[in-house]
Symmetry: C2
Subunit: 363 residues, 2 copies
Amino acid sequence: MCDTYQTSDIMKTKGDSSDFSKFLARPKAVSLKDLAASLKLSPTTVSLVLNGAPTASSIPSETQDRIFEAARTLKYRPNHIARALRAQRTHTIGVLIPEISEGYSAAVLSGVEEKLLKEGYFYFVVSHWHREEIIEHHLRFFIERCVEGILVVDTPQQHQTFLPVVSISGHDDTKGVTNIVLNHEQAGLLAVEHLVNLGHKKIAVIKGQTFSSDTEIRWQSVKSAAARFKVPIAKSSVSQLVGTNPTPETGYIATRKLLENNAEFTALLAFNDISAIGAIRALNETGLKVPEDVSVIGFDDVYAAEFHNPSLTTIRQPLKEMGCLGAEYLLKRIGENDGDDFPDDVIVEPELVIRQSTAEVKK
Amino acid sequence: MCDTYQTSDIMKTKGDSSDFSKFLARPKAVSLKDLAASLKLSPTTVSLVLNGAPTASSIPSETQDRIFEAARTLKYRPNHIARALRAQRTHTIGVLIPEISEGYSAAVLSGVEEKLLKEGYFYFVVSHWHREEIIEHHLRFFIERCVEGILVVDTPQQHQTFLPVVSISGHDDTKGVTNIVLNHEQAGLLAVEHLVNLGHKKIAVIKGQTFSSDTEIRWQSVKSAAARFKVPIAKSSVSQLVGTNPTPETGYIATRKLLENNAEFTALLAFNDISAIGAIRALNETGLKVPEDVSVIGFDDVYAAEFHNPSLTTIRQPLKEMGCLGAEYLLKRIGENDGDDFPDDVIVEPELVIRQSTAEVKK
DNA sequence: GCGATTTGGTAAATCGTTTCAGTAAATCGT
DNA sequence: ACGATTTACTGAAACGATTTACCAAATCGC
């Protein structure tokens, strides 16, 4: 893909690029040693003062001021690499996600970013497209780069590492891993209850891809909620997303399968908003209107949900907050190196957001 | 936002957490020195062999095998931090984007990621929400972290650094910065021509936010294309996105303003797909159907465009490829430290994607 | 006035790698 | 058989910070 673009390069080389410019190339940053030399002090003193070390209390404030002043005018910035090597702390974490190109990951990431930057951490993101060997590869690179912890999003995590790991929407019981998870039982209940309240008795379901870590638990919760409300879900009314395509197309295909099998349903519970959008497309194409003929309910409440036409009724996951929480718990783990008294699970609550894609069943 | 989630923590502490566990905490990784010691060789030799240095040719293959074997069984992984410090190469770049939570950035990022990982680079992403002081702050951190280059996306870039910079959708003439840009003239032409071909003569336009770097050039190209096709755009038919909200809401608001001003138009050219979606919502709410009453054309061709209802006719930007290209040119610049014979502009071509949101004008 | 403490610093080790400059033994050319 | 190479390595100096251990001079307590 990267190699197939069509472009027209316009090679205007700079007019003013005299040979002089090469002398300016890559000016070296000023180091602690430089700074110390310019002050006629030792690097030790300067370091102590700049870092506000307790020892620095014996340095007269006059000298301290000189040091700060010089640091400012020379634009001294401590080299993070050197510092990390010495202190064995990189202030960096690794984030492993399925792919970047979707509302779900983006929302989680924005939460992660907010929290991490606030705490002075940076992060590497890599996506694995649900391929096991890529996950392994990336994890090795994370370790090589000395990340202090790993955050995995919607990713099976059976790899034991010595690093703190927090998993968002993961359901593996790997010990030592904190899971940030939705209260799925409640989510299933909210969804099914809403449809039942609207009079629906024949509910179809689109399950997630087999590789998605929420698939199984969400399906179970929907099944048990349906049983509880006495609207059992017919086997023929269950479809499943297939493939890694992050667009609504997978939902479109799954819904077409339902229709081709003549599944009878008045409501459709999709695995997520993206697939719900694809489902609506498929329904419309066969002449079924949403919500008049079929109610569709999504999951996640990504940005697209609110402004879709019709706007999606959905079970909201607080994705950004889950990202925040993930980052928060990871940093906690990193902070305390002794304890393993960390929660295995941190549970966040879903919320039913009623919009236009669901309506009362037709009599 | 990060502080306002409602959660219920379940603190199941591990049953098997004996005091023993603290002895396992954070096992140290095996270093080159460890590896060398276990082989009874010097670190020098081991390093030379593992890195395939030319000097290593004098080391007998038997020894080399021993080294590789030991490295494998001890799971030796070179410490990237130490290596970076010594070699003064971090194989890391910094990416500066407005925000992560949108189709545009995500698509660009996925291209960037693909290219960079392929070349053994990692990257830091940070978002600046169009705030100048945040940009400055992040740039300083990038320098501290010794990134080898900076990629800015849809971000004004007037800051001189000694680092290689490539700008995606940037239009500042900062010298030394390579811009990856769309052929906007062509884009404007494609959009207006399409509408004109459908018989539209009254075209409304939603301009981008003032801070978005494509806003001005896109508006100019549309205006000149409209002039060329003799369908001048009335001043009252021009609206503008306001605020940093990355959802369709800004487009919704901009369109409502048009409607409230009683602007007369049969076609609407939105700044991007996201705002086009908001525009459709606003039009529908006042009883105008898309495309029967008003044709709407978007820009970008983000994932959401194809599956929206109606699906969006749009001017496609090859976003992922732009990300790839940006990464590619940045790596080129990083690779050659002497040259400034790099292009100022790399131009990619837009493409008209006709879907359902545009139609022939009603007679 | 003399030992103890405080003041104002510095030298050197360290983090884990790479790499320049050797070096001692074996081999080669003639 | 003797200098020149080649073979098989190693020592030590970087990279740019932090940190421990020290030191000399000044001041304090009594």
